[in-house]
Subunit: 388 residues, 4 copies
């Protein structure tokens, strides 16, 4: 049932980036709409004025809330009585930090796509600003919105796996297997351009998702990494293949592999966690399932909505009715709505939204990226991950 | 991108049924919202006045468009200049026909959940009324909204399987394994009460989905059935387990099995179609996949968004980003929007919406139900299926 | 470890049928050899003298124990002090009964491939003869040799599924999808010739396996069937596609589907059993696994050698080291060796060999075949299955 | 059909190690027996005289060919006219080299379990001795006997994947998750004792299998490794968890993970190879399948016996009739028989046995082990793998 929060109005969302043809911007919009907690009312959808205008028209925005300059948008929305409750930042990576800073300065809550920023220093500044301004700042690590990922986290926390020993995480795609960035493919162009994407290509784009997933489920952080970055498509300016060994808290071992040139892989994000009692496996391409394997014994396929697990509050559909990527993404917007409404009401963060990843998680991701870049640059020795 | 149809307004949707706590009503609402083509503006959400009112409030409907009487709603909405463009009927089965007739009579387009009606005669009346009034009348056989089901249909039509030989379809659930209708479970109560659900229990509730899926993918209709209806939970008033053999057009053989007491099954709708060249298999619980097996050879796992197949127009997400039940349901609302906008503009049905199931498909389903009931009543011989 | 039975000699096996190029004869030989309990010492490998001789030479049989006439073989082996301990009958179906009778009459134990005979009457005569002569008579329903099939049987017997409700069994192949019997393919030629295979084509060849598997695992027998036999390849003289509904003991419902023209199917024997507490599924193409699904809950994948289950005595390899078709077949020869050695020693049948199917099971299979033939001939009504 | 090689006698096999209770010795015996090309006629099954004697009796060996001293066995068998054609060495690792040397010196062909020896130097000596004496020396990397692994190798060689880019290989077990070596478990005891197993625990026991599989399928060798060895069970004297990054020939990237403490893993050997056109995946626990995924497209499940592929000569059973671990192991004995018979006849190695791994492959494995040990000891930097 929509509207379960019993509030008379939808929260007002603004968006920076996400003009016509964008991928992730459209996903954010559908996700925000799914549970009917948000309505999109303003946007700086493109720096190109004409594209901003036509995109806004397609989205049925009022013309006077379609901006071409995000700084102006922050300023003007902050001044309206019906101004946005939060801004969703869905630009290429290099703009995440300046846009977020502009909205924080204007006193507006932020929902930012990952990676949080181009550098660890930028990320720390954002965290500090959010703290100083008392603003809400979520980072959309969308894979942590899957109910079975949250189930996995709860199982680890409850000790179901025993003491953790080892983690394997991987994220394989193949869409950059050929140098399509030279053919005008817009998504590929910015994601392989260090000026727009930062120094970390595949590492920043999907390696950070993999790392976050491992940390989210296990509650651990990597202390040190030993990594190799590769550019397997000749002429590319940025890494497209990452492999690393990791040492997590408490001596837990780990490996991470991410590639955007892994022929045949669509969106293969997969996590395995081994404890001394059992292990679990999650495969993003079958997100309604979670495999649990007991030491010396059988394998159980946990399925969303089929096991009493205290996560029914996240469910829109009963078991056997598949949910997917959009539903997981929508979970973050639902969590954000819960938290923001609680703040508006002067209440604490509701327990059921406690799994939402915030700016500190984004900073951790940047610390990991920095350590991998350093290890790879130094020829592959073990390097410490700086504390977030 | 939302709003790709380039129209300045969302279509206005009314709903009959679907008050607080309803399952399928909420699914219709999310589905209608997903692609931003519809907005819910009116409803007769419950025959109980207080429940109708509070449900409408939760859904942020204007109070003056919350009705308790569907006939009044039909009449008043028909008289508004901003009246609804279509009504979604999501009541228990016994109301489908009278509600639909009321809106048809008022000149309002209809989107009706399945089964279309309680009897074949009722269904034929609805089809005749829709034809006479020139109204749009869709039936939400939602499983036909999955992109891979549509791919399957296209493959069969293109001859990829060769000449068809045999069909196996099944739909297994376990939620009625115990007599929960006696414990106050609302969904179970009406679905096992012949006065509300009709004479066909499991047969009408999910057997019709299975039959439709087989017909939708193959383009065939059953000519005769040989069936057995069982009530495996003692004391239940209606069938909860169906098994049947079918003879489709052109001598194609078939079996159908549906059960709501199949322990361990969540929502196991599965179709296999065998031709003399290849076969295909679709499993609703892994809806982004379609298995294709060649005579004497290998198995190919077709995956949504990974094969050039002329269905990219249905896709919201690239391959590897799972879509599910809601997205398939939303496809029907998207199709309906396309058709209704085309009618408003005096244009033909757009090709990309040609897969939407209409009232005639609903009538076919009722003819199948009638034949199964007759065969079972006669002790299991072969019985002809009446032409729709 | 071989030789665990602590006996000083291998049992001596004779074989009727199975000349060069045979499929099942070679499987029997490998299966008999696997656990080192048997040695092949005599054979009437072919009715063609030259082929019998050359086949025997390839198998390193002594020339004087290579026969062309099975009756002579029975007589002469019965008279030798080092005569065979048992005969394996691996001829086309029409010879099973006369050959078996000849060896029973000579006082020699029998291991016979399925189906036991061409008719129920023949089968009953064999059972009577075995009883009268006090002979051992096993029928090689090889799929019942899989450890996970035996596990399934034990789980049902222990009540793990609760009270049984419904059974689905199917066996799909595609090798007869085209009329290859007209092209000189020897296996296809005899299996589609009623004179050699009997009146039941697909029904006798693989339908009987499916039926046996269902009975073996559940401990139930069909009381009545309602069936349709089809010949989907034009010009073929015998059925190649079977579908049936079954009523088992205690009102348990069932469906059976078997086809040798199911494009894309290799050897798809699959059983599902539903009880009111849980269900299980076995797929012959993944024989080391057994799926167990609990009412309303999760799915457990039981794996051979990974669950304490009292069947370790059947295991040659630890879990994760796949076993297959030959190992299952070998299990029957191991069971047979255990029973025959016990008989030689005047002891009871050892408990661990109690799952071996005997002549009575073969007679049950023929009763099922007869009932299906009768139901199909009568146009598909319900027909009783005669007691074995 | 057995005996297809048309030879009048079985080859005579001797065995060192493999007394009662042994795991791998029994597997070798079954494997050697399966295709009826070998008979076991002599053995030094245990250094313990009584255990050697009783084991030999169980195996029905002649008492005068049961030895307690492998050197005596080599000498005496070499002197018999009916002496063994080859010796199978199935002892703990530390004896592989001395036993093999003794038989090579006696002029007897060798089939040795892996790892070939404890050190790279020992391995090179064996290779030199085999070369000098003109002896056959196979190493039983049994996983390379699976038909689908050989298919994978052929596909890579034929360019089906395009230019190779990256390899992921892993081998996970859980049987050493607890310190069972302290409880009298014999297999665990020797495999975790550096004196018997060598300096490499998990690395030598299963890491070498994983590395061999990667090399076998791709035809590549690692040039450098960057590795971490861990002992995750406290008190253990040897590694039980290995993770490494690899650089193969031509810049191909790789990762290897092996663990014997991965809770829930039975025998999880899995290989993925990515080229710029397609990738493949092999999972030892489903050995009749091979997944092939095309760049940007679909996934094909190749199945043994279902695709014309020029490997029919390796098949005992048609598609859909599962083969497993023993059949793969038997393939090595079949290959060995082919090669040895060819040598006896003064002919070249038959093409169909060209995939058998020989002593040089064993030396490569030891070079890999040495490099991993060195990298781990040096704290994880990149280290060159010495040429074999």
């Amino acid at each position: 049932m929509s509207g379960i929060l019993g509030t008379p109005r939808r929260l007002r969302l603004g968006m920076v980036g996400g003009g016509a043809g964008a991928f992730i911007g459209n996903v954010h919009r559908i996700a925000a709409r799914l549970d009917d907690e948000w309505e999109l009312v303003a946007g700086a959808l493109s720096a190109d004025a004409e594209r901003a205008r036509s995109s806004a028209a397609l989205l049925r925005l009022d013309a006077d809330r379609s901006y071409t300059d995000y700084a102006e948008m922050a300023r003007r929305e902050a001044g309206r009585t019906d101004g946005i409750d939060a801004v969703a930042i869905v630009t290429p990576n290099h703009l995440h930090a300046p846009v977020a800073m502009a909205f924080l300065d204007a006193g507006i809550d932020v929902i930012c796509d990952k990676p949080l920023a181009l550098t660890l220093a930028e990320g720390r500044s954002l965290a500090a600003a959010a703290r100083a301004n008392g603003r809400f700042f979520a980072v959309t690590y969308n894979y942590s919105g899957y109910p079975m990922v949250r189930r996995a986290r709860a199982l680890v926390r409850a000790g179901r796996l025993g003491a953790l020993r080892a983690i394997q995480v991987e994220y394989a795609q193949d869409w950059l297997s050929a140098p399509i960035e030279t053919t005008g493919q817009k998504q590929a162009a910015w994601r392989t351009d260090p000026a727009l994407a930062g120094n970390a290509g595949c590492l920043g784009d999907i390696g950070t998702h993999a790392y976050h997933l491992a940390c989210f489920v296990t509650g651990l952080t990597a202390r040190a990494v030993c990594a190799e970055l590769s550019t397997l498509v000749p002429g590319r300016q940025i890494d497209d293949h990452v492999q690393a060994m990791l040492r997590f808290d408490h001596g837990v071992r780990g490996t991470l592999w991410a590639s955007q040139v892994a022929s045949g892989a669509a969106n293969g994000l997969r996590l395995r966690v081994h404890g001394d009692r059992a292990s679990l496996e999650f495969d993003q391409q079958r997100p309604d399932e979670l495999l649990l394997r007991d030491q010396g014994g059988d394998e159980t396929r946990l399925r969303r909505g089929r096991t009493p697990a205290g996560v029914t509050e996240h469910l829109r559909l009963p078991g056997g009715h598949p949910e997917g990527f959009i539903e997981a993404f929508a979970q973050l917007y639902r969590d954000a709505a819960l938290v923001i409404r609680a703040r508006h009401a002067g209440q604490a963060v509701p327990a059921e939204a406690a799994d939402l990843s915030m700016v500190a998680d984004g900073v951790q991701g940047l610390a990991f990226v920095a350590a991998v870049l350093r290890s790879a640059a130094e020829g592959g020795g073990w390097t410490e991950v700086e504390g977030a």
